[in-house]
């Protein structure tokens, strides 16, 4: 079975302009307002927000469990190598789209009359299985989820494969349900509070499995989760043998999961956090991008002294919602204007001697390399090259002087920009600190200082 990923830069899930209404006539109420969201292959997306904010509704729309009323939802079909649209399709098409998705529900909803393995088999029946004995697959997964013959500390225990739900604990039932959702290796997992009923250890096992299904994690990263009970505290831990099994189970990668949760332990591991309020997506943050921008801003003296919350707010106002490893598409750029600028190789970003005005900006390099040049009489002296995470343009803004150097793109470059008004607002907050820096800068205005802070 060949499973393809979408073309580079394209999402596995695309939600565009989705509105949804409950009820009819007088009681018709809008519950979703113009929601737009893209999820890239292998992302683990956490959806957060107060209850009633529409998280679950949007999840059921994506899963094809409800009829899409307005807007567009497309789900990538890895077997077919194409998107499947959910708008205006019949029941049959929606049923076949549902088979692409692994659903983890808040309640386990297992059949009392079936054993753990039989309950999982119900899902396996829907898809041709790679192995002749599908139970092997199901057993491996249950074993990884601590329901096999070995417990977390490697001691023998009675396996629960052939137990019926009545003989299982609440957490064990939920783990069977999770195994049922994941056994067909769906490329998209929709989960509603998957770890709510789980103890810390199995909760961590579930999340780690989702992470590993998304993309292969370095062994070292996983090994950090093998720790003693004391060290782990409430965060849960994995066993040595689980990691080996994890690698077998999650041999295929590229699974995207959309998880509605309030579990802080999971939030820390998310790739993207989508926050909803009153039926709207209020923020859609790629965690890596947020870290990248925050780290970049923290290094700049202009922002180093402001409160961490202010820093975060400023950083979040720059985010474009794309992982810093990936280039930005024009439509993504247009969706959040004024945050990011893109330059072709050779293009000048700022020119030495340009006066500072209201349109002058502060720049943080997201991708690509720039060179910093200064005119020395007749020749042009190349001062330095700068890569992602470095910033430039703040000296002119701080001193209210013309630009003291030229910055030119060497490769395709993407830079986050902060306009002068915003810059000045924060500058006033950090004034004492900045003054000290400026003092420094004025006294020792040397090429070395320029190098760092053109």
């Amino acid at each position: 079975m060949s499973s393809k990923l979408p073309p580079p830069g394209e999402p596995v899930l695309r939600v565009r302009g989705v509105n949804h209404y409950f009820g009819t006539g007088e009681t018709r109420t809008q519950v979703l307002f113009d929601n737009t969201l893209e999820v890239m292959p292998g992302e683990m997306v956490i959806m957060s927000g107060p209850s009633g904010s529409g998280k679950t509704t949007i999840l059921t729309l994506i899963g094809g469990l409800r009829t899409l009323q307005e807007g567009e939802i497309e789900v990538w079909d890895a077997d077919r190598g194409d998107y499947r649209r959910l708008r205006g399709v019949g029941e049959d098409e929606r049923v076949s789209i549902r088979r692409l998705i692994g659903f983890i529900f808040q309640r386990h909803n297992l059949f009392d009359a079936l054993t753990a393995l039989q309950n999982i088999r119900m899902a396996q029946r829907l898809k041709p299985q790679a192995t002749p004995d599908p139970d092997v697959c199901a057993r491996e997964m249950l074993t990884y989820l601590l329901m096999g013959e070995t417990d977390l500390d490697g001691r023998k225990q009675k396996s629960r494969f052939d137990y019926k739900p009545a003989a299982l604990s609440g957490g064990q039932r939920q783990r069977v349900a999770i195994a049922r959702a994941l056994v067909n290796r769906p490329k998209l997992v929709l989960a509603d509070e998957p770890t709510a009923a789980l103890d810390a250890n199995s909760g961590l096992a579930v999340v780690t499995l989702l992470q590993e299904l998304a993309r292969a994690r370095p062994e070292a990263e996983l090994r950090e989760r093998v720790r003693t009970a004391v060290q782990a505290g409430e965060n849960g831990r994995l066993a040595e043998w689980q990691i080996a099994l994890l690698k077998t189970i999650a041999s295929e990668h590229g699974t995207t999961s959309l998880i509605v949760t309030h579990d802080a332990r999971i939030m820390n591991l998310a790739d993207r956090i989508v926050h909803m309020e009153r039926g709207r997506i209020e923020s859609n943050v790629v965690v890596a991008e947020r870290l990248f921008v925050r780290e970049g801003l923290r290094q700049s003296p202009a922002f180093a002294a402001i409160l961490p919350e202010e820093q975060e707010k400023l950083a979040d106002s720059l985010l474009i919602g794309v992982h810093p490893n990936d280039p930005v598409r024009p439509d993504q750029l247009a969706a959040r204007p004024g945050r990011l600028e893109v330059y072709k190789p050779g293009e000048r970003i700022i020119r030495e001697g340009d006066p500072v005005n209201d349109h002058s900006k502060f720049y943080l390099i997201r991708r690509g390399t720039v060179e910093v040049l200064r005119e020395t009489g007749t020749a042009t002296q190349k001062l330095t090259e700068m890569g992602p995470g470095r910033y430039f343009g703040e000296v002119a803004l701080l001193l209210n002087q013309p630009r003291n150097a030229t910055v030119r793109a060497l490769t395709p470059v993407e830079v986050y920009t902060i306009d002068r008004a915003t810059f000045d607002r924060y500058r006033s907050v950090s004034k004492p600190f900045i003054d000290r820096v400026l003092q420094n800068f004025r006294v020792f205005e040397t090429p070395r200082a320029v190098e760092g802070q053109a």
Partner: protein, 404 residues
């Protein structure tokens, strides 16, 4: 490669053994209702045709006006002779029947024990013709029947209602070989017994020779020519003769319209149709069967609907992960069929027991032929499938979005 299917319907039903037992008992109850009602109906109709079934013949001549054996209309003896001339006919034998005028004196030897004289059905045949299929009667007994004033008696005659005080006695009194009593006022000796049974028209039968019949039964009424008319004419065909063809040529031989040529099966059907149409048996017991059917449907629907209701989140989950309405409907229908099978087996065991009991108690010939069993089975499946179909609508309405 798809893994083996999970027997979801079977597991759902049998998960709780006690509940499943109760379910099967519920459906079984409906099967018993249908089976017993249908059985009694058949027994009542069957009892009227036992005589025809026992006649060893291929075709029967009967007066078209004689809608049932109990009537008097008969076939002229001339027709007997005429039938002999038709190609394919091997033998023709008149059968004489008397329902109304022959009384059998109570057989008790002690006059004080005798109750009133009762009418008995008298069947007159040529003892040498081997016309009746009665394995209990030996050739020697048939031989002895040639003696005028002898009769074979029906051991299955209507039993005396007070079996406590008169064990084994019939309403005619004790019936044993050698008993002497009176038939139509003349002495007669019972020489051997046979098994036939009573019906709506009669409490029991005597078989006598045609000669005894003429002298004892008919001569008092028709002294000149007692055997001028035969009540039925039994026709046996040459080996290999085409029954239909002979039937048609016989019918063509009697254009006057005073004779109807029927096969034995047609004769049986005609007799049954008469009782079906002219008594409330069909309606009463048909309604009983219908009642059983409806009761069964309600029980089955309750079981299936509660199964769907109990498993609503599970069915919704199955829909959410990509099972079709068709699959879920099939699960419900499977459950209906499993219930039908379990209920049928259980119900039939009880039904058969009830048949035995009723036959012992009432003497009605309760018989379960394969066709009748098949009909009950078919009704059971239909009953469960119909309620399954109703329950399927519930499962179709399950909303997968409810599981989140």
């Amino acid at each position: 490669m798809r893994p083996a299917p999970v027997p979801l319907a079977w597991c759902n039903l049998t998960h709780d053994k006690v509940r499943f037992g109760l379910f099967a008992a519920g459906i079984g109850f409906a099967v018993v209702l249908m089976g017993v009602q249908y059985g009694i109906m058949n027994a009542m109709l069957d009892s009227n045709t036992v005589l025809i079934e026992r006649l060893k013949c291929d075709l029967i001549l009967v007066n078209p006006n004689r809608a049932s054996l109990i009537f008097r209309d008969a076939v002229s003896s001339r027709r007997v002779e005429q039938a002999k001339g038709v190609a394919g006919v091997r033998q023709v034998h008149p059968v004489y029947l008397e329902y109304q005028t022959a009384g059998l004196r109570h057989t008790a030897a002690d006059p004080a024990q005798r109750t009133h004289t009762r009418r008995v059905r008298v069947i007159g045949v040529d003892p040498a013709a081997d016309l009746l299929d009665l394995p209990e009667v030996s050739p020697a007994d048939w031989q002895r029947l040639n003696l005028p004033g002898t009769a074979l008696f029906d051991r299955q005659s209507r039993p005396h209602p007070d079996q406590k005080n008169y064990p084994g006695q019939s309403v005619f009194g004790p019936l044993e070989p050698g008993i002497r009593t009176e038939l139509a006022g003349r002495a007669i000796t019972l020489i051997a017994g046979f098994d036939m049974g009573f019906d709506f028209g009669t409490d029991g039968s005597l078989i006598v020779s045609d000669r005894t019949f003429a002298e004892w039964v008919r001569a008092p009424l028709f002294p000149v020519n007692p055997l001028a008319e035969a009540d039925l004419v039994a026709i046996q065909l040459e080996a290999g003769a085409n029954v239909r063809a002979v039937q048609e040529s016989l019918q063509a031989r009697f254009p006057e319209g005073d004779v109807l040529v029927l096969t034995r099966a047609e004769m049986i059907a005609r007799e049954k149709a008469f009782w079906w149409q002219n008594t409330p048996i069909g309606f009463a017991f048909g309604a009983g069967v219908l009642l059983g059917f409806i009761v069964g449907m309600v029980i089955c629907y309750q079981i299936l609907a509660s199964d769907v209701a109990d498993h609503l989140p599970q069915y919704a989950t199955l829909k959410a992960i990509g099972y079709t309405n068709g699959y879920l409907s099939w699960v419900v229908l499977q459950e209906a069929l499993i219930l039908a099978s379990a209920g049928f087996v259980l119900g039939m065991v009880v039904t058969l027991g009830t048949y035995r009991l009723l036959t012992d108690l009432t003497g009605l010939p309760m018989r379960l032929t394969p066709e009748r069993g098949l009909l009950i089975g078919g009704l059971t499946v239909l009953m469960c499938a119909a309620s399954g179909w109703l329950a399927v609508r519930k499962v179709k309405k399950v909303d997968p979005a409810d599981v989140f």
